[in-house]
């Protein structure tokens, strides 16, 4: 009885304010899609971080003869200044002793998972495999390649420890951590995510203001009914429920649209359609589980937020 009465009231209310209802639905849908999108984005970034951090390693390049020569020339021309060449190579190419020392020190570090040594010949071979078809590659000789240690870490976040421990030592040309480059990328992704959150916040405020306004208009257009309800002793809860439910239904529809956008985003952009998963194999894209796990949050917020807005709007409007 009561439920049926309330349901019919809600239907009437939503139809009466059709344009406003659409405005609410669209703004709720967009803000929640952005909300879900930024949740997924930050999860994706975290995932990529883990994946790439794991793949990337710290390379310690050792001085070869050419480096030592360049460093020596530079030192001579600028009287002890560090300009040109690498100062740590000034004492000549890396010695066997230095290599052993570095390797054992690396292996002693609790942070280090594994250390592999790459000789200049191996480096040359890898280089030819990768860039063999370019003009530059043909001018490179094995002499120019550097020996290196490739270090994998147990906790990839802590690459800086290795960098600070070995950079600047004699015989070491450079310590190159690929994570530095990855970090820059992540910083950009993070900014994008923050921008999405900012847009979401603005859309959310717009949605809330629209809901407050819609509920006020709705309450005003039904003041005759609510006036009678008050007089015959309907509880204020009973008077307010249709309006709150109206907002909740509009919000829920908006949230469903937002869910549809997220699901189709996963389907058309990542899995099929644009097919990023196949095109960019370097990135470990998240799966359906991640997307589906976000939907309950979107629905919950889509239901709760408009209800709260309606409740607040009514507190002023429908006094006992």
């Amino acid at each position: 009885m009561r439920a049926q009465f309330v349901m019919s009231e809600i239907g009437v209310g939503l139809r009466r304010n059709l344009t406003m209802t659409f405005a609410v639905i669209i703004s709720v849908a967009l803000s929640l899609a952005l909300f879900g999108g930024s949740l997924l984005m930050s999860e994706q970034v975290g995932r990529m971080k883990g994946y790439w951090y794991d793949k990337a390693n710290v390379s310690i390049y050792l001085c070869n003869k050419q480096d030592a020569q360049e460093a020596g020339e530079a030192a001579a021309s600028s009287a002890g200044g560090g300009a040109g060449g690498v100062a740590t190579c000034r004492k000549g190419a890396v010695t066997e002793e230095q290599k052993k020392q570095i390797e054992s020190e690396l292996k002693a570090m609790s942070l280090v998972k594994s250390v592999t040594y790459e000789s200049a010949d191996e480096a040359y071979k890898h280089y030819q495999e990768q860039y063999g078809h370019t003009a530059l590659a043909s001018s490179i000789t094995p002499d120019q390649m550097q020996e290196s240690f490739r270090v994998k870490l147990k906790n990839p976040e802590k690459y800086k420890v290795v960098t600070s421990a070995f950079a600047g030592r004699d015989g070491i040309h450079t310590v190159d951590d690929q994570r530095q480059a990855i970090d820059d990328l992540f910083r950009i992704l993070n900014y994008l995510n923050m921008a999405a959150v900012g847009i979401m916040a603005i859309m959310l405020i717009v949605a809330l203001l629209l809901i407050v306004n819609t509920v006020r208009v709705s309450a005003f257009s039904r003041r005759r009914e609510t006036g009678i309800m008050r007089l015959v002793g309907a509880s204020s809860f009973y008077i307010q429920v249709p309006f709150i439910m109206e907002a909740a239904v509009a919000g829920l529809i908006g949230a469903l649209f937002a869910c549809a956008m997220l699901v189709s985003g996963q389907y058309f952009v990542i899995d099929h359609g644009v097919g990023l998963r196949d095109k960019i194999q370097l990135i470990d894209f998240m799966g359906w589980g991640s997307v589906l796990a976000k939907l309950p949050y979107v629905l919950f917020i889509g239901l709760l937020m408009p209800s709260m807005a309606a409740f607040i709007a009514l507190r002023k409007y429908l006094k006992v």
């Binding site: 009914e225 008050r230 007089l231 002793g233 009973y238």
Partner: protein, 229 residues
Amino acid sequence: MIRFDSVSKSYPKQSRPALREVSLDIAKGEFVFLVGSSGSGKSTFLRLILREERASHGQVHVLGKDLAKLSNWKVPQMRRQLGTVFQDFRLLPNKTVAENVAFAQEVIGKPRGEIRKAVPQVLELVGLGGKEERMPGELSGGEQQRVAIARAFVNRPALLIADEPTGNLDPQTSVGIMKLLDRINRTGTTVIMATHDQQIVDQMRKRVIELEQGRLVRDQSRGVYGYQH
């Protein structure tokens, strides 16, 4: 049933209070006319009983309850024991006669079976038997007021408040409405009716309470309208 204990009411933006030091008692089963020129405080008096306003000073007791101490969430419960009728009927134009009456029961959560029984009964009582499915717009003013009275009475209130119920009706129709209110009064319902209708007050010979500029100037059992307007 109703007791006013030196009740004053001032509205925030008006220097002159709407009611000043009004004290009176209305017993169960009484029929009371409330008269006075416009702005004399009649509406404020009724609004205080309905707890749409709170008294600025003094105490208002309705149905044995001190309204100043009644918390907001208990007000609806109190109002279920009151019926209200207005000059402008206040019917819902898009609902039938029966639906208008049933609305008063639906919104306080009466079970459907009870509503189905009570609505035809009360429509019969007000003389609208057979017009259940008509829309308010199709009815005459007197009939619309009967619907309003049916709606006010369907929950069998202890007190019926009528604010100029005949104000929009011609004299003959008014007589019919008054007969109906008298009949409702005879069932034991207390009736308080604010009016400007001299003829009706003079004919009915009921208790008359007169307000003038917010003061109680006359309280007379079996009174007449009493002043020229």
